[in-house]
């Protein structure tokens, strides 16, 4: 819309006509107080805090409902306005418990802040306050009614934002109260958005309540470890005896692709980090068959010696390596490099949840064709094929819903089930479970094999008219089907694609070459010339894939198996006795089914306890930062390096540290610390930071950026916490048409998260409390 010019507090401003005054002011740095207004949610005009004076209008007006208009003259602060706001606060405080000293929101409460600003602390009312007991509505959500100021943010975010509609307002007048859908409890997605958005301490979370004061926490911005969406989250951590523990997760600053959204897993399911049954000492199986705690030195020595012995006697092909979908890119990269250059084997794989290799092949050479998670927030049209995003990609579902709501984006959904996003869809097509390939053919104009109906014809028609479309497809699509889908899409004017895979770094695991036939960047083994310098002794024959490794083990042909952050025994239903003749090393947090049969177990750190980068399923690369700490555990990165060292390899070859410039880092403490930090940031941003330790992930990141061109993004922005899209056109891939399809979708729900989810008591208690339990997941 055309811009209009108007005056606020004497300043001339311009904004597109129709912009809300409150937004226009905020943009210009003029803060207008608000309780009920929340960007992106429907307008309420209920709190009356945002009142301003418009010239020639008799009454004060609410800035949150007034669109700017040409020539408008506005006053946002005056005695009259101040008084009006002060009176509102006095009224609120009149019935507010003022238990700030014990309130969770104390210190970050909007009511406190405003009371401070408007000096409304004097109590004009001597009547007795209504006391009411706090209620627990779910394992996650607690409600303290007297603290509620009825801004209706929670009701709206749950309804409009989440499309759950679990909260309502009941009664009227001063008896009005926020009510959950189950009368005394909630039946909902347990996302905690309502708690997050509450400006006061009326809604509080089960994980955080009464645990700490906001100012006692450190806040670390990092990436969620659960699903493939890669939500940015700010973890609140505090020191405890054995490290530092996470007590809160949110994204209040809306810094990532997820805005302020987090699902239950990102927001609450970090409690696995502090479980008492976490492994914190290395364990080695004794001659009596029992696992016993040993020192790090002994464990590493033992494992290194065994690996070396098997490599040297039986050759690298007798060793297998299984990587993780939740370690960092640097760790995944390092693990395959370790396998290929130290263990001399291409027997490396991971639990594949999407066919990223076929996707990369289909898009090679095509620039700008991958959709970021951000694109779903702005695309004018979206096609979702397969996948139940509400359950499996909650942030994607959030972005789609927001886009439909705010920008009227057109959503097309084709699925074998009646998924919840149907409600946002302009067109919905239900197809047979095995009908996805035929559907793509049909969309491309090939009628055979698809039972066309009027609905499907209209669906196709509308889709073809779209001038700019984002296509997201689930793991229903593999191999050639992905190729045909991409071929179809490329026939439309302006299409981007996203392949939906399940875990925090599923995409990174594939990108980083945790595969027997493909090197980092999907480079086929045969085309690995440019890897020569870093991979001097690269075996040229493709290795064994996941299932072949277990077959080999069963046949007695696998001398050793090194499993990092994965639980294949359970995931793939492997009979553990198949591994009885295989020397098994496991790095994990818990005694998983796989760890239980290991010969050596190294206690590992999780994503919240390390730094590095991760790539979400859309190819958005992000920085993960170490937030928590647990005594006794080590990062997978460090463990791989140490193991290599024990095997007699040169860590410097594995991790190119010790390069970069020499720099005087100056003081890092005291008065000059800021100076030194700025210096370090500059160096890091320009790829000049000295990497002084073999455990520095950024030393490996240098190498990744060198060898995997699609990862060559701006470091400055990446380190600054921004997400950077990796590029699809820069991969070189040639897939063997006979390549096996090993994709095993995780089928996680909102409340499960693979093996990791099993160790979250929070997720368990939520599932138990639900009146209707979600269907059992197929593979967990």
């Amino acid at each position: 819309m055309a811009d209009v010019t108007f005056t606020v507090d004497g300043k001339k401003l311009t904004a597109p006509a129709g912009t809300l005054l409150i937004d226009a002011c905020r943009k210009a740095g003029i803060e207008i107080p608000a309780f009920c207004y929340y960007p992106g949610l429907s307008l309420q005009a209920a709190c009356r805090m945002c009142v301003v004076r418009l010239e020639k209008v008799p009454k004060l007006q609410t800035a949150c409902t007034t669109p700017v208009a040409e020539g408008m003259v506005v006053t946002t602060e005056s005695d009259e306005i101040k008084q009006s706001r002060k009176a509102i606060l006095e009224l609120l405080l009149g019935n507010h418990p003022l238990d700030c000293p014990v309130c969770d929101a104390g210190g970050e409460c909007e009511l406190q802040d405003m009371t401070f600003k408007y000096g409304a602390a004097e109590s004009k009312y001597v009547e007795i306050k209504q006391h009411r007991e706090e209620q627990q509505w779910s394992p996650v959500v607690f409600f303290d009614r007297p603290r509620c100021i009825l801004c209706y943010r929670c009701v709206r975010v749950c309804g409009e934002g989440m499309d759950v509609w679990a909260l309502g307002v009941q009664n009227r007048g001063v008896s009005s109260v926020i009510s959950p859908n189950g009368e005394d409890h909630l039946d909902c997605e347990e996302c905690g958005m309502c708690i997050d958005i509450c400006p006061v301490g009326a809604l509080t979370s089960g994980t955080y309540r009464y645990k700490t004061r906001p100012w006692e926490m450190n806040h670390v911005a990092t990436v969620c470890t659960h699903c493939g969406d890669g939500c940015k989250t700010t973890l609140g951590v505090r020191s405890v005896d054995d490290g530092s523990e996470i007590i809160r997760g949110d994204n209040r600053d809306k810094s990532g692709m997820n805005g302020d959204f987090l699902c239950i897993k990102g927001r609450y399911a970090f409690d696995f980090t502090t479980r008492e049954d976490r492994i914190t000492k290395p364990l080695v199986r004794q001659p009596n068959g029992q696992l016993a705690e040993v020192s790090w030195e002994q464990a590493l020595e033992h494992a290194g010696m065994k690996l070396r012995e098997i490599r040297d006697t039986r050759g690298g092909s007798a060793i297998g390596v299984i990587g993780s979908t939740r370690t960092t890119n640097e760790e995944a990269y390092l693990l395959q490099k370790f396998a290929r250059t130290v263990l001399n084997t291409n027997n490396i794989d991971h639990h594949r949840t999407a066919d990223y290799a076929s996707f990369a092949a289909a898009l090679q050479g095509k620039a700008g064709r991958t959709a970021s998670l951000r694109d779903f927030l702005t695309a004018p049209a979206i096609l979702l094929l397969g996948n139940d995003a509400t359950e499996q990609h909650p942030a994607l579902a959030w972005n789609i819903r927001s886009n439909v709501r705010q920008n009227r984006a057109r959503l097309y959904v084709a699925n074998h089930a009646d998924i919840k996003l149907h409600r946002q869809a302009k067109s919905f097509l239900q197809i047979p479970q095995d009908g996805y390939a035929a559907l793509v053919q049909y969309l491309a104009g090939n009628e055979a094999g698809f039972d066309g109906t009027e609905i499907s014809a209209a669906f196709r028609e509308a889709l073809r008219k779209e001038e700019s479309l984002v296509i997201a497809f689930g793991s229903e699509f593999r191999g050639r089907d992905i190729q045909s889908l991409v071929d179809f899409g490329l026939g439309l004017p302006n299409v981007k694609f996203a392949a939906l895979g399940d875990y925090a770094n599923s995409r990174g695991a594939a990108d980083m070459g945790l595969m027997p036939d493909l090197l980092p960047g999907y480079v086929p083994l045969a085309a690995a010339k440019h890897f020569g310098e870093e991979y001097p002794s690269l075996p040229s024959a493709p290795g064994l894939d996941m299932l072949q490794m277990f077959d080999a083990a069963e046949a007695g042909n696998l001398g050793a198996l090194y499993v990092v952050g994965s639980n294949p025994v359970e995931r793939y239903g492997i009979d553990p006795t198949a591994l009885k003749n295989t020397f098994l090393i496991v790095q994990d947090m818990f005694m998983t089914e796989t760890a239980a049969v290991a010969d050596v177990i190294f206690p590992a750190a999780n994503l919240y306890e390390k730094s590095g980068t991760v790539t979400n399923t859309y190819g958005d690369l992000q920085l993960a930062k170490k937030a928590a700490d647990k005594a006794g555990v080590r990062t997978d990165f460090e463990l791989i390096v140490r193991l290599a060292d024990k095997m007699g390899a040169d860590p410097k070859k594995l991790v190119p540290f010790g390069r970069g410039v020499r720099a005087d880092m100056g003081q890092t403490r005291g008065a000059q610390s800021g100076e030194a930090d700025r210096h370090a940031v500059w160096l890091a941003a320009n790829n000049l930071e000295p990497k002084l330790s073999p455990f520095d992930p950024f030393a490996v990141f240098d190498e990744i950026q060198r060898l995997v061109p699609s990862y060559n993004v701006s470091r400055f922005e990446l380190l600054g916490g921004q997400d950077k899209q990796t590029r699809s056109d820069l991969v070189q891939i040639e897939l063997d048409p006979a390549r096996r399809d090993l994709v095993l979708p995780a089928n996680d729900t909102l409340f499960t998260s693979g093996t990791l989810g099993r160790y979250s008591r929070m997720l368990h208690s939520v599932m138990e409390s639900r009146t209707t339990k979600p269907a059992e997941t197929a593979a967990d």
Partner: protein, 435 residues
Amino acid sequence: MPRLVSHPDEVKIISRRFGQGAAEIDRYIELDGYKAAQAAIEKGPEWIIAEMKASGLRGRGGAGFPTGMKWSFVPKQSEKPKYVLVNGDESEPGTCKDHLIFLHDPHAVIEGTLIAGLAIGAKMGFIYLRGEYRYLLKIMEKAVADAYAKGFLGKNIFGSGIDFEVVTQTGAGAYEVGEESALMESLEGKRGVPRIKPPFPAVVGLYGGPTVINNAETIATAPHILLMGGEAYAKVGTERNGGTRLFGISGHVERPGVYELPMGFNLKRAIYEVAGGIPGGKKLKAVVPGGSSTPVLLPEEIDVGLDFDQMAKAGTMLGSGGVVVIDESVCMVEFALRTIKFYQHESCGWCIPCREGTDWLKKSITRLHAGGAVDKDIDNIRYLAENMMGRTFCPLGDAAAMPTIGFVKKFRHEFEEHLNGKGCPYEHQREAVLV
């Protein structure tokens, strides 16, 4: 059965058919019923609106917006269907005029709805009565059914090729639903919480379509205006205040009742002559002139004409036409308390100043009435009410604050008599039970 009253000073236009059996459609037709509607069909929307404008009729709900103007605001072309909505959610304490219209002249409401529909090009009208008026709903339902049977409603009305449907229903107990946008919410099956304005109903109203919403009395007046001519109607009243109005005079008068008086009729005469003055030789203490939300007048202030402009000049409002007369035996603090209790009970609770403000006013005045207040509490009550004025989401906040300010201003001495443990000096002090 509510008692009908009569007085020679009355000018009976809208109450013309009261007590004549006009609830029966044939009788209504005998008494010139549905003639206006047929004229409206013949002469078309422009004519209707011109007559309505000429009549000087102003909304009888209380706000006094010129009706003809309101109808003319509805856009001629609209993608969404247009609607007529009749506000029969009569709930302002002191007001019972629409009660009589529904009882004695239901077809006038139907005919008026039809006329409004013809004026704006709507095909559907809703008549919404307050929930307590169930027996009146029955009367309305029968009248609507009779009108359908005669072909006055439904498809091809009066053989004109025009369709018009009417649906009647009641609310379920909520004063706030009398606010026009809250009424639309209620009719859409929601909580009776007002909507943000703009957009105004004439542009985006019921079901998102352009909507004319009028008070039942306003609507029932329309047929009379078309019959007698807008100008003739206007002449009955004063300048800018056309016609007559139903005034309900209640409280301490000899002959309480609903009287139809020309606009601008003198309030003092209405009380002393029309309604027969104060019974029992008592002295007049105060008059609440237009329903409980209008600021109180002192005996020396009542020599004033009952129209929108003169009442505004007198520092109060014409409101809903409910004149409540209070004699000297009444404790004005108790009266103020009963008034604020009502608004506290009826606040929809949407916005902070109204929800919390009415509650604190009620609590403070309750305490004061019982003797538990000190001098600064009176200032606090006034401070609170003044800080609600003009700051709330809808006019209910003002409706609660305005009379309160009036009572404190004009009867401060009575408030003071209650202070410091003294309590109410009037004998009939009672426990407040409404919650």
